[in-house]
């Protein structure tokens, strides 16, 4: 469970990115966070990743109080999260298999474990046949699937997706959403930050709308509205 209580974030520049944010996300939920640019969506993800610290307030993720977490525990905490970015952030000099295995390698997983998990993860995202391909040989949708496989290979409890369909065409965007839905049905909590009203309306999941650092609506089975 994720509990965000009375969180404020003001950057050193004076920019008040978040004001009195209160959100509770249960295990296994699928949540969209939407809002205009500068509404504070990405700052919220950064707080969950413990990339930035809140100015005040409390964030608890799976019983771990992020405010009281020493820096040395941050890597272990991040292993319980998966992250997907709009620009995929794949390693261009490594093939699909190596990109996914990379996430296991850097946390010191055994080669045996890698050989077991990587093929099954690639099968799950539908890229078994392309395990030898390099990122530049893949479509945008395929690259995002590799990024999702990499994010999930360490079996995180929560998947954070920052504009995962931002660089994709409509067809691929829907495919990625279906994949995220499938992952959510397997028990992973999924939080998606997006601009795409169309996808939000298609999925009919919980929608948190932000504006100028505040939550303006939080609807179960909600939809996005043009402002």
């Amino acid at each position: 469970m994720i509990e965000i209580t009375n969180v404020y974030k003001t950057y050193d520049t004076g920019n008040k990115a978040l004001r009195n944010i209160n959100i509770t996300i249960e295990d296994g939920e699928f949540v969209f966070i939407i809002g205009r640019s500068g509404s504070g969506k990405s700052t919220l993800l950064k707080l969950l990743l413990k990339e930035v610290e809140p100015t005040s307030g409390k964030i608890v993720v799976n019983d771990m109080n992020l405010g009281k977490m020493p820096r040395r525990y941050v890597p272990k905490y991040r292993r319980r999260l998966g992250v997907v970015f709009q620009d995929f952030r794949l390693l261009k000099d490594r093939n699909v298999y190596e990109n996914v295995a990379f996430a296991q390698r850097v946390i010191g997983a055994s080669p045996r474990k890698m050989r077991e998990r990587v093929p099954s993860m690639l099968q799950m995202v539908g890229l078994s046949s392309k395990y030898k391909s390099f990122p530049q040989q893949l479509s945008g949708g395929e690259q995002q699937r590799v990024a999702i496989a990499r994010a999930l290979i360490n079996r995180p409890e929560v998947l954070l997706a920052d504009e995962p369909t931002g660089n994709l065409d409509h067809h691929n965007a829907i495919e990625i959403m279906k994949l995220l839905d499938k992952i959510n049905h397997m028990g992973t909590t999924v939080i998606v930050v997006t601009h795409s009203n169309e996808l939000v309306n298609l999925m009919r999941r919980r929608v948190i709308t932000m504006d100028r650092g505040c939550i303006v609506s939080d609807e179960e089975g909600g939809s996005a509205h043009e402002n």
């Binding site: 990743l49 941050v74 890597p75 991040r78 292993r79 952030r89 850097v106 946390i107 010191g108 055994s110």
Partner: protein, 302 residues
């Protein structure tokens, strides 16, 4: 650490070197220059110290005693003086031996001139001890202690020779430390630059690693490996160079300038090379490790 993780870090470190090969080569060249100079100074200094040590052994302090003391009393006094820890060796010269020596030195070929003294030894009461020190820098304190000793009439010593050898030793030492220090600073700066370039090449990879949950240790390891490999290469190359240069230089000097080989013997390479290798390798690895370890720290923040 798993074996597979170790090999992975090693492979990534070598990959870093290959990615910016020119920066790496520049770093290797600078460390090589630094360590080559170190080896050069090391060879020169140990040989000079060898010469100085030999010379120190020949510079003695001569102690004369009160004339009324008998030879037995002087020998007893000598035994007490010999207990001083700074003293390495002592030679007793009786008044008779002193006179015989003087006769040989000054009346050689004209022995009849000395016959006028007959049995009347003009150097009676000149029994002395020649004292040799372990370390020439302790000469002043030993001389002072001898002067305070009851029964000691006069202490002769060469202050300028002792000071000359000590200060020559010190100047060579300081000069080499300064030069090596400057080169060390340049080496650290260049490796640091190389690691910075490598870190910028791997910026994307490092960011991904941090989001995935890699520890700082895991992110840092390839860069430290890179620094260590550069440092090691920077040590091995000048060691090979110094090995052959020393052999050739000693052979050349001995053959061309025989006067040098009459003055002193060069230390054999087998005697100094193991120490030189150990220090040079430690120096190379040390520079590589510290420069990479501290440079990469600023790239670890998230």
């Amino acid at each position: 650490m798993r074996i597979s993780t170790f090999w992975y870090c090693l492979k990534e470190g070598v990959k870093n070197i290959c990615r910016n090969v020119w920066f790496s080569l520049a770093s290797v060249a600078t460390i090589s220059a630094c360590i080559f100079l170190f080896c050069l100074f090391f060879s020169i200094i140990v040989n000079i110290q060898h010469v100085v040590k030999n010379a120190e052994g020949t510079i003695g302090i001569t102690v004369f005693f009160d004339e009324e003391l008998s030879e037995d009393q002087i020998r007893q006094l000598g035994e007490r003086i010999g207990e001083m820890p700074q003293i390495s060796d002592m030679e007793f010269t009786s008044a008779e031996e002193a006179w015989e020596s003087m006769k040989n030195d000054y009346f050689a070929g004209h022995e009849e001139l000395a016959e006028g003294f007959a049995d009347d030894n003009p150097l009676a009461g000149s029994a002395s001890y020649q004292i040799f020190l372990r370390d020439i820098t302790t000469q002043d304190e030993v001389v002072e202690a001898l002067r305070q000793t009851p029964g000691v009439r006069q202490v002769n010593y060469s202050n300028s020779a002792a000071e000359g050898l000590s200060s020559f030793n010190a100047i060579i030492g300081i000069l080499s430390l300064v030069i090596i220090g400057v080169l060390l600073a340049v080496s650290v700066f260049l490796i640091s630059n190389t690691i910075n370039v490598a870190a910028s090449f791997r910026k994307n990879e490092n960011e991904i690693m941090r989001y995935i949950g890699a520890t700082n240790y895991m992110i840092r390891a390839p860069f430290v490996v890179e620094g260590l490999v550069i440092g090691l290469m920077g040590a091995i190359l000048p060691l090979i160079g110094t090995y052959f240069l020393y052999l050739r230089a000693v052979g050349y000097l001995a053959a061309r300038f025989q006067i040098i080989s009459r003055i002193f013997q060069f230390l054999p390479l087998s005697l100094i090379f193991p120490y030189m290798t150990a220090v040079a390798v430690l120096l190379g690895l040390g520079i590589g490790f510290f420069a990479s370890f501290f440079t990469i720290r600023k790239h670890l923040k998230v």
